[in-house]
């Protein structure tokens, strides 16, 4: 009877494609918005993710995310180094600076000051120039997206100059880096140079980046640092989620995305459910005839579930295909850098679509289960 179920489903093309459209639309909204949301949240912590060498971040206990920083004393790095179990600890500056381009335009930039000798926190992938060029006087490395913000329409190149805090900076490298939550250009330079570019403050050490000795547990060392220095030491993973947690709790972003995702779910369920239910209603006499002819309820339910699974599968494939196409088509768009379709979203959307399909078919199943086969003996 599976074949009959398939024929019944595809026999009415309008309803077949209508149901598929509902599910595809729901899938598109759910998956695309969820992927964008995840990408946006990942952006809030992209600077943490970008520092691969250090597994421990030490900061003022009041710090909740990477963008709101209460600077430490310059000597704090030595206190961290003195904690047993710490292999190494270096200074790291992260702050905002105003960068003026030669034609007078300016942009707020995110300035990263790297330890002079270890270059911990340096960009992983250089597109032009090299990390070693940071040793040149006034040398800075800017991320590709940032370069395009600073010099719109100009292909990334070396040698252009910026002015920050009345000091000259020369682009000696262009890198690829995780886009920040605020779409500021990322400017990497040496720690001491960054302090010159940054606005003056009494304390300016943003973070101490550290790594435990081999074989030492990161969490244990973090606890030891916190206990000994009274500073907050977090593993990279903890700080990553602390930052994301802050944005989740303190901004309207999750609510707005959540509403869109919920709308996708509701609209998808409504369209798919209504069309599928109408399809069942219009075939009610036929279902009644099948019941009268001896088709058991269990097989009827299987027929409906098969029909639901088919429209669900096709709709999900179409919706997910459009989402994947969107991210594929926009992967080189500067403003959308870093957004992609994670497998978790595919899986989550599949679960949501399964729920849509089950909800849509439940009403139909109930209707068919309570259907008296004697209905077929009643006139039209």
């Amino acid at each position: 009877m599976n074949w009959v179920a398939w024929q019944m489903l595809t026999g009415d093309r309008a309803k077949y494609w209508g149901t598929i459209f509902g599910i595809a639309f729901g899938t598109l909204l759910i998956s695309q918005q969820t992927a964008l949301f995840m990408g946006l949240m990942r952006r809030t912590a992209s600077q943490i993710d970008g520092v691969r060498e250090a597994t421990i971040w030490v900061m003022d206990p009041e710090v909740q995310n990477t963008d709101e920083i209460l600077p430490l004393s310059e000597t704090d790095v030595f206190r961290v180094r003195g904690v047993p179990g710490v292999s190494w600890a270096v200074r790291y500056y992260k702050g905002l600076a105003r960068a003026k381009v030669s034609d007078g335009r300016f942009r707020q930039v995110m300035l990263m000051g790297l330890d002079e000798t270890t270059m911990v926190g340096a960009p992983v992938e250089m597109l032009q120039g090299s990390l070693a060029d940071l040793s040149r006087p006034d040398g800075v490395i800017v991320d590709k997206a940032g370069f395009e913000y600073l010099w719109p329409g100009v292909e990334p190149r070396l040698g252009d100059t910026l002015e920050m805090n009345d000091r000259r900076a020369v682009i000696v490298g262009v890198c690829k880096a995780g886009a920040p939550f605020q779409t500021f250009p990322l400017v990497f330079t040496r720690y001491t140079r960054a302090l010159e570019y940054a606005p003056p403050e009494r304390n300016r050490l943003s973070f101490v980046l550290a790594k435990p000795e081999d074989g030492r547990d990161v969490d244990e060392v973090c606890a030891a640092i916190t206990k000994q220095t009274k500073l907050l030491a977090l593993s990279r993973n903890q700080f990553f989620w602390r930052t994301i947690g802050y944005y989740l709790k303190s901004t309207g972003i999750p609510v707005n995305f959540g509403i869109t995702i919920a709308l996708g779910f509701i609209v998808g369920t409504a369209i798919a459910g209504q069309t599928f239910y109408l399809f069942t209603l219009e075939n009610l006499r036929q279902f009644g005839a099948l019941k009268a002819m001896g088709l058991a309820n269990g097989r009827l339910v299987l027929m409906i579930l098969l029909q639901a699974a088919i429209v669900g599968g096709v709709g999900f494939g179409l919706g997910m295909g459009v989402t994947a196409f969107f991210f594929e088509a926009t992967k080189n768009v500067t403003h959308l850098a870093g957004f992609y379709l994670p497998w978790q979203v595919v899986l989550g959307s599949a679960a949501a679509v399964t729920m849509i399909v089950v909800l849509a078919s439940l009403v139909s199943i109930r209707r068919v289960l309570v259907l008296e086969p004697a209905i077929v003996f009643r006139g039209a």
């Binding site: 009959v4 036929q286 005839a289 009268a292």
Partner: protein, 275 residues
């Protein structure tokens, strides 16, 4: 022969010794209520009736007299409030719900007033449905379906969809579907009601020709007096009770009376001669 006790009808006559092969359906004191409490309505009152195999029995009576309810109970689609139905020696009450469905799938064929063909399936596929329900291989089922379509004169429209067929053609396909699994009981609900006179006559001729078999009972619910002549007997119902069962020459009289009772034109009704 006419027997007219109010609710207990003796059908032990030998309608035609050559065709009748015993009692196919025996309804014993069937009652059926709908609703509860103050809204409870009794639509069948202690109905006692037998339907022999090898004949076409017409169940007639005015609208709302309980015909549809009675055939629904006979076909196992409704449960009686009281009483029992024996189908070919098997008491319905002895079957579980699951067994009843299986019994229905194997032994009962249906022809509906509105045909109830699946619009997305071709005539062949529609006819094959009872075999597919019986889990027959699709190729075999289709081959058997095509053979039945040939019998009902629809071989040239085997690949047509219901929307491409006239009402009469759809009913012929429905008859083929009802017979494809060789049921022992064929239940037809107003098979000519949606058809014009000519198509109705064709359908009834077809039913007589291909459905009536020595080991099969055919029950046709109708109030179309034009088809009375095709029956071997008429079971008259009114107000949820069997009023009379007429056979042989009495069919002509029955036709006239029933037609008069239902307000239909009579005219040239002629009883079918079983012999």
């Amino acid at each position: 022969m006419i027997s007219t006790p109010q609710n207990s009808v003796d059908l032990s006559f030998a309608a035609d010794a050559g065709r009748a092969a015993g009692v196919a359906v025996h309804c014993r004191q069937i009652s059926k209520d709908f609703g509860d409490g103050d809204t409870r309505v009794r639509v069948l009152h202690d109905v006692e009736v037998e339907v022999p195999a090898g004949e076409m029995s017409l169940l007639v009576g005015p609208s709302g007299c309980g015909k549809t309810t009675l055939i629904s109970i006979i076909a196992g689609l409704l449960d009686p409030t009281a009483g029992d139905v024996t189908l070919f020696g098997t008491p319905r009450s002895s079957l579980s719900a699951r067994q009843l469905i299986a019994y229905r799938a194997k032994n009962i064929g249906f022809v509906f007033q509105q045909y109830n063909l699946l619009p997305a399936l071709t005539a062949t596929a529609n006819v094959a449905i009872p075999l597919l329900i019986g889990r027959m291989n699709r190729e075999q089922a289709f081959a058997r379906a095509r053979s039945l379509l040939t019998q009902v004169g629809m071989s040239d429209r085997a690949d047509a969809f219901p929307s491409q067929l006239s009402g009469g053609q759809q009913q012929r396909v429905a008859i083929a579907r009802a017979l494809v699994h060789e049921p022992r009981l064929l239940v037809c609900d107003e098979p000519t009601a949606a058809l014009d006179a000519h198509s109705g006559q064709t359908v009834m001729e077809l039913l007589r020709r291909v459905a009536v078999q020595p080991d099969r009972a055919v029950i046709v619910v109708t109030h179309d007096n034009r088809v009375f002549r095709f029956g071997d007997r008429i079971i008259e119902m009114d107000d949820g009770r069997i009023q009379a069962v007429r056979t042989g020459d009495a069919l002509v009289e029955a036709a006239s009376e029933t037609v008069a009772g239902t307000g239909k034109a009579s005219g040239t009704q002629k009883a079918h001669d079983p012999s």
